[in-house]
């Protein structure tokens, strides 16, 4: 995949490109025309075509046009880096893949990484340096600040404040040192809306210093997660998902692990749990108390699940692990550290390392800044990549405080809420445009290299720091200098190239620190009947609001609610009944200083007495896509209680129509998802094959490849990475909330969510559903024009340019995986510019049916390559977009004709079954049953 690149050239190429110069730009122009013609050509189907221009390079580039190249870099989210490989088509980044060499990725990505390419091309990104709203030349900015800084320097930097989010960039840190050296009295504040104050504070209490835990799920037999969604968010979650899934194999290898999840709102971890309890935040803490009591063998632990979990943990000392989610107070974290110590987890299933984003308490840091602003102690405030005017706690009233600052500068991707209040705004370079470096959750460092010169004349964060430090230079040089250290240029060059090629710098992972956890007294809050708690959490898609203007993420269904383009007040059915509300009714939630009105969404697996709301919505200056989507839950947030707080909840007037992609939750006894108990599976239980043996038709022979896919429901955590990866790879348009309401979303692979069991606290199952590529495809027989037919490798292909749009195929598709362009979605307002699209995939016009085709373009590329080399495609050589993105490797794809292939092996599993097999459609895509591993002990208890 990744290939060595000669920096001086590729970079010049890129910069030249964006300077409107010949190379990359003209390349873009070619594909632009290509794509622009697409719609017309689709319509034309051989009728008159416009005369097209071919624009060659002026200087040769060494890369043949149309051959994509991959570059390794790293994306930073909440201070933690994950390695990515970015596909570049003629100088234009079009697709993000995980970097197998990177510890936080292992080749997989989360949804934000997939969507980041759309963010890069977002036309709403800030496009110019602005002074009081008016576009200003860079020189003016530099001139003004040069003088201002000189003045500040004279006073030792008194009154200079810098506010950033979490950053793990060594280069940035070094620059900050330089700045603070120049301005000794200056202060560096940090604010990250999704901060990790509680866990760090908890570590301070228990371990004596701020340390971050690094978990080893591959070594854990029993895991207890307390409101900890280690599969869905937080440092290293992609890696953790892989390790966790690796321990859920019912047969062969290590014994299958068991997960107990206690949480307020359903999370990905909760959905995977073998035992789950939904408890409101206070009750959850009491449960922790009970667990502790039970572990210490003291009387008074009356909660059966807690007792069972305790016994299970003790039975697996050294292979047990307890996790505390960020929402738990520091004391709870401290207790959990202690419990892990007593269970012999420390050193085996959990290691402690220096926090990659440094030892910092965001709340304290921001509170200090706000008070200083209020006291007029701030002369100049520089804010880099933060948006406190939107995401600071309500009781900070940051906007008001900010107005008190005489001199302000804001740098960000967007001209956002904070930018609007600042004298100066500087567009920030996207990570795909920027030189930098960053550390992963375990400390492993990567060099961040640009694939394209800043699109909107954006500045690197390092350039602004250089301005402050008074040491001008190019970002790349800062990063090189940082890593060269004392080495000589000559012998550094090789390691530098290696680092850029591999995407990781070897030997930079933090060494685990040995720390002994002491017991700190922890008293769970007393039970108060009828009390409400509001639980605030990051949105699985837009996180803290950073990605609010990203249509792919906005339209990505939330894992549990399948809700798009919105947030809601999630609550349990019982709580709703108590309030007398149904899904769609409006409630008012009042907590601390703030109150918000939000529509209710009932989740069967939500805790009673609690309301969960996602942060990151209700933006006013996010951009055309994100403005006014959902309600702003930050209004309920305070320094003291960032995640959970007591609240007053009441019903108010108003209905809201949600845009959801799944209207029915239960399986209606149809078993699309098959479930097996671990012990049965271990004994080799087999899912009966319901395919009718007789067929009216003589079988077709497939003499070359027989592409097939197996999806392991036991590994799928429902994170949606496949859905969005497919969207990015296949130029799938977004349609907007209104069209989703009408049932017209376009995702080629959707993740179905089913509930099974009691109405209260049912089990949650996820099931990714792409096209099944049926061998006896019902869709094909009914197409009047033969626009969907089989090819000789058994792929059910959709020929867009032949499709007339009768939609008969969709009617006849039992899986309803076909998607139709009811309107000209490809030209929708939220669509990326044509340069951002995959030139290997036709852009579909209005009136055309489309669907998954196993990433035909990738198969074709592999076929052409291997064909030129005169060999067969080897197993694993074709990786579909969904497969590549999947954190848990739940998707296996390959050639069923080759008995040695991974997919053949998977298909032979006794747990393999075909969806709706009784219809005799003979799908090429099959599933491996979900395996649950309940604790017999616990069931006896319950």
């Amino acid at each position: 995949m990744s290939e060595p690149i000669r920096l001086w050239r590729s970079l010049d190429e890129l910069e030249a490109g964006l300077a409107g110069g010949p190379s990359a730009f003209s390349a873009a122009r070619r594909d632009f025309l290509k794509l622009a013609a697409a719609a017309a050509a689709l319509a034309g189907a051989g009728c008159s075509r416009p005369v097209e221009e071919i624009v060659p390079y002026v200087h040769p580039t060494g890369s043949a046009p149309g051959v994509p190249r991959y570059f390794a870099t790293a994306m930073t989210l909440e201070g933690c880096a994950s390695g990515v490989l970015v596909e570049s088509n003629m100088g234009r980044p079009t697709k993000v893949e995980g970097n197998p060499a990177h510890p936080a990725s292992l080749g997989a990505t989360d949804v934000q990484a997939q969507a980041s390419v759309l963010q890069l091309w977002d036309p709403d990104r800030s496009g110019a340096i602005r002074h009081r709203g008016a576009i200003a030349p860079r020189a003016e900015l530099e001139a003004e600040w040069h003088d201002a800084l000189a003045a500040l320097e004279a006073r030792g930097g008194e009154g200079l404040r810098i506010l950033t989010g979490y950053t793990s960039s060594p280069t940035f840190a070094a620059q900050m040192d330089a700045v603070l050296k120049r301005f000794p009295a200056a202060r560096w504040h940090r604010w990250e809306a999704l901060h990790r104050d509680n866990s760090l504070e908890g570590a301070r209490l228990a371990l004596g210093r701020a340390l971050a835990p690094v978990y080893r799920f591959d070594a854990a037999d029993v895991v207890v997660a307390l409101d900890a969604d280690f599969l869905g968010e937080g440092p290293g979650h992609v890696r953790y998902a892989r390790d966790f899934a690796g321990r859920r194999k019912p047969r062969g290898g290590a014994p299958m692990n068991r997960l107990y999840a206690v949480e307020t709102a359903p999370t990905l971890a909760g959905a995977m749990a073998d035992h789950r309890a939904a408890l409101s935040p206070p009750a959850l803490l009491r449960w922790l108390g009970q667990l502790d009591t039970a572990l210490r063998g003291e009387p008074g632990a009356e909660l059966p699940l807690a007792r069972a979990a305790a016994r299970d943990l003790q039975a697996h000392r050294g292979r047990a692990l307890v996790l505390a989610g960020e929402s738990l107070p520091p004391e709870a974290h401290a207790l959990v550290h202690r419990i892990n110590a007593e269970l012999g987890a420390a050193g085996s299933t959990v290691a402690y390392v220096e926090p990659v984003a440094g030892d910092v308490h965001c709340a304290a840091s921001l509170r200090e800044l706000v008070s200083d602003l209020g006291a007029g102690r701030v002369e100049a405030l520089v804010m880099l990549g933060v948006n406190p005017a939107y995401d600071a706690p309500a009781d900070a009233d940051f906007a008001a405080a900010l107005r008190r600052a005489p001199r302000t500068l804001h740098q960000g991707l967007y001209d956002d809420e904070t930018a609007a209040l600042c004298a100066w705004h500087v567009p920030e370079a996207h990570y795909l445009e920027d030189w930098s470096d960053a550390r992963a959750f375990d400390g492993t460092a990567s060099v961040v290299q640009p694939l394209i010169a800043p699109l909107h004349g954006a500045l690197s964060r390092h350039e602004v720091m250089a301005l402050l430090a008074g040491t001008p230079g190019r970002p790349r040089d800062f990063v090189r200098a940082q890593w060269r250290g004392r080495k000589a240029e000559a012998d550094f060059e090789d390691s530098w190239r290696a680092a850029l090629r591999e995407g990781v710098i070897p030997g930079t992972a933090f060494r685990p620190v040995s720390a002994t956890a002491r017991r700190v007294d922890f008293t769970p809050p007393p039970a108060v009947t009828g009390a409400w708690t509001v639980r605030l959490r990051a949105d699985p898609s837009v996180r803290d609001g950073t990605f609010a203007n990203n249509a792919w993420l906005q339209e990505l269904p939330k894992p549990h609610s399948k809700l798009t383009w919105d947030n809601a007040a999630f609550m349990s059915a019982e709580s709703a009944a108590k309030l007398g509300v149904r899904t769609g009714d409006t409630i008012e939630v009042a907590s601390g200083p703030g109150r918000v009105e939000a529509p209710v969404w009932i989740l069967p697996d939500h805790a009673d007495g609690a309301v969960t709301m996602a942060l990151g919505f209700g933006r006013s200056r996010a951009g055309r896509v994100g403005n006014g989507v959902g309600v702003d839950a930050y209004a309920l947030r305070t320094f003291a209680a960032p995640w959970a707080a007591g609240a007053a909840v009441r019903k108010v007037a108003g209905r809201h129509v949600f845009a959801t992609t799944q209207n029915h939750d239960r399986m209606e006894g149809r078993e699309p998802v098959r479930v097996v108990r671990a012990d049965e599976a271990a004994r080799g239980a087999r899912i009966p094959d319901e395919t009718p043996k007789e067929s009216l038709y003589p079988p077709w022979t497939y003499d070359s490849y027989r592409w097939g896919m197996v999806i392991d429901l036991n590994a799928c955590i429902g994170c949606n990475a496949c859905t969005i990866a497919c969207q990015a790879e296949n130029n799938i348009p977004t349609v907007g909330a209104e069209q989703v309401r009408r049932g017209r979303e376009m995702h080629w692979i959707r993740v179905d969510r089913y509930y099974e069991g009691p109405a209260k606290d049912p089990r949650t199952y996820f099931q990714p559903v792409p096209c099944m590529q049926c061998e006896d495809a019902p869709c094909e027989a009914v197409c009047p024009v033969g626009a969907t037919v089989h090819d000789s490798e058994g792929i059910n292909v959709q020929v867009y340019n032949r499709c007339v749009g009768t939609r008969f195929c969709s009617n006849n598709c039992p899986y309803k995986v076909r998607r139709f362009n009811f309107l000209h979605f490809a030209a929708g307002p939220a669509e990326p510019p044509l340069e951002a699209r995959n030139p290997e995939v036709t852009v579909r016009m209005r009136g055309v049916m489309e669907k998954c085709n196993y990433c035909l373009q990738r198969i074709t590329r592999a076929r052409l390559e291997t064909d030129r080399e005169g060999r067969r495609i080897a197993d694993g050589e074709v990786v579909t977009a969904c497969q590549a993105a999947c954190p848990t490797r739940a998707i296996t794809f390959g050639d069923l004709a080759d008995p040695e292939s991974a997919v053949s092996a998977a298909a032979r599993s006794p747990l393999d079954y075909a969806l709706l097999a009784e219809l005799n459609t003979r799908p090429r895509t099959t599933y491996l049953a979900r395996v649950v591993n309940p604790n017999p002990d616990a069931q006896r208890e319950a």
């Binding site: 077709w700 019902p778 037919v789 089989h790």
Partner: protein
Amino acid sequence: MSALHGLMAEIRGPEALVEAVRRARAAGYRRIDAYSPFPVEGLADAIGFSGSRIPLATLMGGIAGGLGGFFLQWYSAVVSYPVNVGGRPLDSWPEFIPVTFETTVLGAAVTAVIAMLAANGLPRLRHPVFDAPHFDHATRNRFFLCILADDERFEAASARRFLEAIEPIRVVEVPACE
């Protein structure tokens, strides 16, 4: 006065017309036309019309349509561009039947109409009888018998005498039109 098309008698009713025709035949006239505002029972036999060949033509048309329809489907699906459609066999003949049926009916129907018109020598917008007085009532309520001038036994005087003998409303000469 130009050439004569024939002598025409205007007759009151259908029965009278049939009777008249019979007598004309008996009198040895062969080239006679009878006009009525609706198909009159037994008139065709009386005038010596031996059954039409339209049914045969129709049958032929139907067979041609059917064969053509089936061949078109078979050729395009099996020979011209064979494609694997949903694992169905290329020659899915049972699924070719509906179209074959339709083309059969179409072929037959179109042939029937064309054959009818052709055999009747229609369309023919101009015809001598149109010049005959009162002939516009031939499509309303009147019946006409016309002995054509080219009948070898035709002789103006005798023919007129013959027609007068069957007590028509009137007898007129129908001039041939150029």
